[in-house]
Amino acid sequence: MAAVNLNTVRATVEGRLATELALAPPVPVVFHNQPYTPTPGSSWVQCLVSFGGNNYLTMGGTTGSSNSVIGVVVCNIYTAKGNGPGANYTIGKRIRDLYNRVIVSGVHFDPPTGPEVVAAPSPEGYFQTQVRMTFETFEDL
């Protein structure tokens, strides 16, 4: 047992999404701190994985103890403006189904929130929704 490897958790989250969105119909996906210039009018997804609160789970010191590591996945879904929400929600469903109550590689995903329509899309020129889900993993020291 060892301290949690944050990049392993991140890879679990991101790899799952990258694999799904590579399937037909493929949708480009971009992650934290990656440059991306979207094609105007195209569909694409931005996936942001962040770690938040950590909590004591069990008694013990730096060995023989466990912590809870909480994180959140935020997926911004961009589709063409002026064509209604259908295409956007189709992608949203794919993402939602991908994580909904799933336990994979020790990462427990909670039920997703969204897709929620973002009133002021960023970047502009797209119809944007957001799917968010918290996750929890356990660190055994």
Binding site: Y56, L57, T58, M59, D110
Partner: protein, 138 residues
């Protein structure tokens, strides 16, 4: 002055009463030591008098379910359902990670509450009473 936080505690247990092993995934423990009081007030006295009587203890350990097997943690969570318990199980309740501040006694596990709640980690609550002397090395 030294202060301690709850996570520095731990619980050790041995159902055979010899060498205690750490109970895994313990969240909390508590022990109440109680002494009976015997009224020795004399007739005509203005103030009530008491002397100490028998001492006993009872407490609780809460741990998370981890599906562990063939170890003392498994014995600990299943002992409430065992027959012919002679009260020889060894309990060691620690207040520090160094393992020098502890409360030791033999005891009987009187109940175990197993629970699962949606969205929460599964926990087991063990209740016990002491059997015989309670040694406080605190």
């Amino acid at each position: 002055m030294a202060f301690y936080r709850g996570q520095q505690g731990s619980v050790k247990f041995d159902d055979a009463g010899t060498t205690a092993a750490t109970i895994l995934s313990t969240r909390s423990w508590s022990l109440s030591v109680e002494k009976e009081s015997l009224d020795t007030t004399a007739l005509g006295a203005t103030y009530r008098a008491n002397i100490g009587g028998l001492i006993s203890g009872s407490g609780t350990v809460e741990l998370m379910y981890t599906a562990t097997s063939a170890d003392e943690t498994n014995a600990f969570i299943e002992m409430a359902n065992s027959a012919n318990d002679e009260g020889a199980a060894l309990f060691e309740l620690y207040l520090d990670t160094a393992g020098t501040k502890k409360i030791t006694f033999d005891g009987v596990i009187t109940s175990a509450e197993y629970g699962a709640t949606v969205g929460e980690l599964e926990t087991i609550t063990i209740n016990f009473v002491t059997n015989g002397a309670i040694t406080l090395d605190i």
